[in-house]
Symmetry: C2
Subunit: 486 residues, 2 copies
């Protein structure tokens, strides 16, 4: 499988093509030091053999910003070093920190924008990125990633919403790209040419003032020209359309662009892959072979493999899917796709982040702060003779399925549905023995089964299949009779 082939990035041998991109955990203390919980979180990905672990965004500056990691002073190095030693002692996984600079936001809904920064402040940012990169190297990271995405400082300069009018301003594309160029120079001065430096940036801002794929191709080329060792693509996550909840600081993922950034269940799989494909083709066409990595509902191993094999990407970034199951890569390697805890994109993790609570997965056992340890030998839950006793009932909110609790230790149930003659796919992962489907269309036929899963995704055989064909409404029936179909 292409997914399991190694990739060498500026000397860093990543053992496979799977990255866990930066995800906030909200597990650090207010002081920004590595905690046991944070260290455990990232070691868990190493146990699962994730190729490239990107540790959550850590601030290169001194701003007080709640329980977020920091790398703005030397005092943060020992904790990071210890975490990296644990990660490297666990597997061949490589680990880089995402280095972030962000601006001020307030509970009033006010936020600082790039046009408010003085040239002195910009010079300080340039220097701080370099110094943080040096600390990252000292702390034993295998490389670094610059956070040039979402609503944060670097991305806000590159954005077409940049309102500055000077040489760092939104007046021209080159001016927008000036700061990231300065930052790259600074970083190379501090860590040299042989240290992997990736950049995360946006393939589309998904806000009215924002840029689209047209600029994103050029931005990608410039990142390559600047010597970025990989480009990791995201979309959206901007403050421009953030929804302010009175009394709370503005959250970058609360608007439509935030929805596109962490697309929920209503979005199709691989929904932003075409952007990655276009950027990759463009940058390759200009002679740069920088690896292109992208996120966006790629957690189905078949979808991820196809994206790699078809040359749309060089590595897949999977955030929520690897939060749900850090053993995803290991299970793919073992051919145990059936044991993967499948992310159903319920976005409880996103809601926890938005509520400033520790980020966990809904599918984990109740109260768990980390994904449970793999137990490959454990028996899966099951129903006697595979019969879950599913009942179906129509109601005002749709079709409700109920079933019996499985034997063993079921942690959650995966509900599968096939539409007409299509394939069975997970439509939801639930913790009760009930599921309501509100998205059915009369005239189609549906089949369901459920599987009972233990804490690490070990699933029972499929239960019995139940069928349901909601009726066509009278208007459609009348029409079908008139035109002689159906």
């Amino acid at each position: 499988m292409k997914l399991l082939e190694p990739l060498v990035i500026n000397g860093m041998r990543v053992p496979n093509r799977v990255m866990v991109p930066a995800m906030v955990t909200r597990l650090s203390g207010e002081d920004g030091f590595v905690t046991q919980a944070i260290s455990d979180r990232y070691v868990r990905y190493a146990q699962g053999e994730v190729g490239l672990i990107v540790v959550e965004a850590m601030a290169i500056h001194g701003s007080n910003a709640g329980p977020l990691l920091r790398i703005g002073e030397d005092k943060f190095i020992p904790g990071l070093k210890e975490m990296n030693a644990r990660i490297h002692g666990t597997s061949d996984s490589k680990v880089v920190p995402q280095l972030i600079h962000f601006m001020k936001i307030s509970k009033s809904g006010w936020r600082q924008t790039v046009d408010m920064l003085s040239i002195e402040e910009i010079e300080r940012i340039v220097e701080q990125f370099g110094q943080a990169a040096a600390r990252a190297r000292e702390a034993g990271f295998d490389g670094i990633e610059l956070h040039n995405a979402h609503g944060y400082t670097l991305a806000s300069f590159v954005s077409s919403a940049n309102k500055r009018t000077d040489e760092y301003g939104g007046t021209t594309l080159e001016n927008r790209l000036r700061l990231i160029g300065r930052v790259m120079e600074s970083v190379r001065r501090y860590v040299g040419d042989d240290f992997p430096v990736g950049i995360r940036y946006l393939a589309d801002e998904f806000v009215r003032e924002g840029y689209t794929i047209e600029d994103a191709r050029l931005i990608g080329l410039r990142m390559a020209q600047l010597g970025a060792d990989y480009l990791s693509l995201s979309v959206g996550g901007k403050f421009e359309d953030a929804v302010h909840t009175p009394g709370h600081v503005l959250h970058a993922y609360s608007g439509y662009s935030g929805d596109r950034c962490m697309p929920g269940a209503k979005y199709p799989p691989a929904l932003h892959l075409a952007y990655a494909e276009q950027i990759r083709a463009f940058v390759r066409g200009k002679g740069y072979d920088v690896p292109i990595i992208a996120a966006g509902k790629l957690s189905d191993p078949r979808v991820a493999e196809e994206a790699l094999v078809s040359g749309k990407l060089d590595m897949v970034a999977i955030a929520r899917g690897l939060l749900a199951d850090p053993d995803w890569v290991r299970k793919v390697r073992l051919g145990a796709l059936d044991r993967i805890v499948e992310c159903d994109y319920c976005n409880v993790c996103k809601q926890l982040d938005g509520a400033h609570m520790p980020v966990t997965c809904f599918l984990w056992p109740k109260g768990a702060m980390q994904a449970p340890a793999a137990d490959d030998a454990a028996a899966a839950p099951n129903w006697p003779e595979g019969n879950a006793g599913i009942t179906v009932k129509e109601g005002p909110n749709g079709l409700t399925l109920k079933w019996k609790k499985a034997q063993g230790s079921p942690t959650y149930y995966d509900v599968y549905r096939a539409d007409d003659e299509g394939e069975m796919r997970v439509v939801d992962g639930v913790k009760t023995t009930m599921f309501t489907d509100s998205g059915l269309l009369g005239g189609m036929s549906y089949r369901y089964y459920v599987r009972a899963c233990d804490a690490t995704g070990h699933a029972s055989a499929p239960s019995e299949v139940v069928h349901y064909t909601p009726p066509l409404p009278s208007a459609a029936v009348a029409r079908a009779e008139t035109i002689g179909v159906a």
Copy 2:
């Protein structure tokens, strides 16, 4: 060419595969009657041989809503009939009205939503659509189109943002689809089965609360089941993300979803074609051959033809491109692509609509309320020996090109640019002899020429070509030397 092949829609022979979708003109009086200006606007499309003319949304109800057409009472029939007689007397173009119901909006930013409507009001809407359809038939239209798109009543029921909790509510997909089913039944009762009834709806709502392509495929299937004779796809244009300007009524196209609905110059061509392709494949796969029509930057004849030939669409909808040049189809038929007034997506037309002013095209002669009459024999403007005397100058806003006024009667100039070894493409249409390019990337090479165009798009030969290669910034130069490229 596929573009020029006829398409029979429920007995209506559309002479080619080009539709001008409904565009507000703001040319009617406050009383909603057809004016000379409105009649002239649509006759102009017929002169240009547009296959299917969709007349701007006309209200089926009595609301007072400014200079918008109405069809809610019999008194509106004679004016519409006269307009249709003129259209039919001009060419083989077919003409349908877009029938709309909309809810109340106010200058305070408040708007009525579907959950505020009583069952009696819903029943009235069902009846009003039927009656309006009957009036349309009596007025000599060739069919009708139901406006089930953007921020209006029918689309707001189908939307996943529908907050009702009854049988017309957002609780299930079937409930959301109930009203359009009722409306289709009502319409068929009034006009029978042999009258073409198309539906316009959204392939993606592009708002946080909205549905995506996943639901849009099912919605398309239902429209087909209901006997829609064509499906015309749009996206966005919702009130949920509309930006309220104090003192003005809320405008449905002022937010991000409005930008997606009428995508400006920063978006790539054919940007929503993949949605149409998916919906068409899905509906065809279910056995329905209802023609699929879609809009979204398809005004380049080569792009439009390719969309048809590759089976992604059955007809292309071109709004702004046909506003710019109602003779688009005729010029394609004559092989005179070079004489088309090319829409540059400057969206001045969209701004005029937003400002509640008569909608015209920026490329038309100053003050013109209609596209100028074609004059195929007129000589194009030109420069002596084809030399426009282009000068280029770098400045804080990018590269500025200036050139000499052409001889003859230039109305506007098309600025063409090629990036590296790429094709020459129009990047802007300007009325002065100056253009500033703020989107260049250092390290790429650019070529430009200009063409002087008369009022109907008759263009001079390309001027001399000027070259410009903006320098790479120092950070990229340093990197290129280090890694030995460039």
